[in-house]
Symmetry: C2
Subunit: 443 residues, 2 copies
């Protein structure tokens, strides 16, 4: 279980280098909310873009969607969230604090308060179900009629738009709809840094198929989603597939397989791929009174498609990529920390560094190279420290290539290009740098 | 005022072609919430990416950020939103409905209920201030202590992270922080399609400068932001700059200029560029007790920077680009609708269309070309209608080039490439198509 790096190491790097800050930190923070700093914002952008390109733009059988966080409250009634999306909570009679009953230390009905250590008898103070949806009020009157919820999952935005997408995009089965967006859950015990938070971002697919093709489609999606993480650099030995047992399945699910990553805090879910049958479309059809069936021309029949749902967390994936990419290496002058992020994910592809910042000609040439490369690459210019320090900084944030402009560059029109992983340096003609990088970075 | 196209035309195209659907439509919708369909999702992605590249990645003086929607409630106390972000509401005594007092028909204190037409005397039923922030409750107890708000602007996420960004990214003035994200306002009178909605997406910059450089920086940002819209294709005659009069400025603002677009419903704000002085950092410094000053090494002084804020709406920009790009042209066989979107914004860059879908060799070649082009471009394959219909479809959604594979293609290995705007067709070698498009589309 003592996996390297430790969470402390990762959290510390994230804050120091600007990947992740505590939300509202100057006010003492707000429970389990995190802000992505400059580098975290780029990492998340790259991750989401890699996902979108892979599951939407590279395929003929997919459409994208960007539905709102706010939905009609009946959506959550039909989906089962109003009635069933709840945790059992219990109050400690002594200290008055509130806990998830199934997480209390102790056994059976006799538990212990984790705060004041007094006994909690679940027979005397039975747990009450506490809905995990965050509620809000829309419109000028704050009453029961104006209540709605922040979506606890992006999936329902896809289901309610199923017919709109079929009609506007002339779709035939099988096809899928993909979406990235924020969701909210009032978790009672969030934690493990950005792994479980009350505000989080999902990347979800609902893939609509004929019922008799669902099982095969489910298998294919499990494999494709697993491959995606591996292609983006996650080590295979840190990934596992965990099919849910029959007792573990949600009542509507026909099958579910989790893709798990070995985080420093143990094996935990990155993404779940479920066969949801026609549960969601059927629920919404009944609740809304709108026909949500699909008309299959060849067989001249109408039916509710089955749905395969690969549902991943953006924040979890980002955390896994960070943890997995982190390594410490012994080099001549000590230890270097490298974030070996995949070239499609690294916040910066290239850094341009003048060896001496007090030589205007060097700075000018470095800035000129930066401007030129920016037409094609994500480039960072930095002259705020010595070259050794600048290299370490770029290694620690995963920048793939460092280009150093030195005094010789002014004469021979060459620069030193340093590879993040091998630390090998090559002298390259300034005029050839763009071509060189294009070959190396072409994803 | 009768600008072309009408809003009805735009709304209808958006629904028919899959740009925008009404939120939770199958449940009758939910007030002023909209979902972006497959094409709207791509348009918004492209728009946000163009902004991010322009204001973050193409510059040396900017950092990105992705702060959470949920923030500590004290943030909104310090920012002035808890006390001051409110509209005056009044109840109709007769029909019990609630309205914004300043929007009621009638004059002075004697108004009329827009619903039941009875008189509303504002002296007898004085308006009460109604806060526009959407409230929610975090944690296991729903009481005053657990209230927080959905952010009504992304800006405050930048201010509270000012010191974190300066320290982690070794920043010196002047520099800016840019962010894209959802915000929420409980507007009493939302409307004009996606122009004013309760859930919306912002793209905001806070640019930190020395106080004596603020006025010049404000001017530069007004010009740069104006140029951005023009570069992405907005017609200059539909854009205007409107500096706020002294009486119109927020109490903390030193200056503000709006960039307005001539929508079918009149001139309306796309983006505001404000000089906010040091109001925000000062408020947060006082409320949090944390030092938020900047230490200027050359002058050996500490001070609160001034802030220039270019604050734009993603949904408004998307709507302006759609409206502005829409045109109807008379062609031989009637009228064609073209969405002349800029090449950086169009949902699809290329469509590949087999002339006959019942000829497997044509379909195979078309699919092969599609797969090849996808390495570099966003490509749509479509064989679900006749070629004339397919062209019209692609014109209407702004696809820049259509590649048609016909029977001759099998012999001469050439395809027809059709330009969206000129409708000119060229025969191009299959092997040359990639190069051809690269030249045309290189943004």
């Amino acid at each position: 279980m003592a996996e390297k790096p430790s969470m402390d190491t990762v959290v510390s790097l994230c804050k120091r280098r600007g990947f992740v800050f505590q939300g509202s930190e100057i006010y003492g923070g707000i429970g389990s909310v995190w802000d992505y700093g400059p580098l975290g914002a780029e990492l998340k952008r790259n991750l989401k873009s890699a996902w979108w390109k892979s599951v939407v733009q590279a395929r003929d059988d997919m459409e994208g969607l960007d539905a709102a966080i706010l939905m009609h409250p009946q959506v959550w009634k039909a989906s089962g969230h109003v009635d069933g999306f709840a945790d059992p909570l219990v109050d400690c009679k002594k200290c008055k604090r509130r806990f998830r009953a199934d997480h209390l230390p102790g056994k059976g009905d006799i538990r212990r308060c984790p705060d004041c250590q007094s006994e909690i008898n679940l027979l005397e103070t039975p747990p009450r179900m506490f809905n995990l949806m965050l509620k809000t009020f829309l419109g000028p009157v704050e009453d029961a009629g104006s209540i709605t919820y922040l979506r606890p999952e992006t999936a329902q935005g896809i289901f309610v738009n199923f017919t709109n997408v079929v009609n506007s995009r002339h779709r035939k089965l099988p096809f899928g709809i993909a979406q990235i967006g924020k969701s909210f859950r009032n978790e009672i015990t969030p934690g493990n840094f950005t792994f479980r938070t009350r505000e989080f971002e999902q990347m979800e697919i609902e893939y609509f198929v004929k019922p008799d093709e669902a099982a095969a489609s489910h298998e294919r999606w499990v494999q494709e989603r697993y491959d995606w993480y591996v292609e983006l650099g996650i080590k295979k030995e840190k990934l596992q597939l965990r099919p849910h047992g029959a007792g573990e399945l949600a009542h509507y699910a026909k099958a579910c397989t989790d893709i798990e990553y070995l985080f420093p805090f143990g094996w935990s879910e990155l993404e779940g791929i479920a066969n949801r049958g026609d549960f969601d479309l059927r629920q919404h059809q009944e609740a809304s009174g709108k026909e949500l069936t699909y008309f299959d021309q060849p067989s001249n029949t109408r039916f509710l498609p089955f749905v395969i749902e690969p549902s991943g967390g953006v924040d979890r994936a980002a955390l896994a990529f960070l943890v997995d990419a982190y390594r410490e290496e012994t080099v001549n002058d000590g230890t270097r920390v490298v974030l070996g992020l995949h070239k499609a994910l690294a916040p910066f592809q290239v850094a341009v560094l003048p060896l001496l910042k007090n030589r205007p000609e060097l700075v000018e040439l470095a800035r000129k190279i930066t401007a030129g490369l920016r037409r094609e690459f994500v480039v960072k210019y930095d002259d705020t420290a010595s070259i050794g320090k600048l290299y370490r900084r770029q290694d620690e944030i995963g920048t793939l290539y460092c280009i150093t402009v030195d005094v010789d560059s002014l004469q021979d029109h060459k620069v030193t290009v340093r590879d993040r992983d091998t630390m090998q340096q090559e002298r390259i003609d300034v005029a050839q740098v763009e071509n060189y990088l294009r070959k190396k970075l072409n994803c």
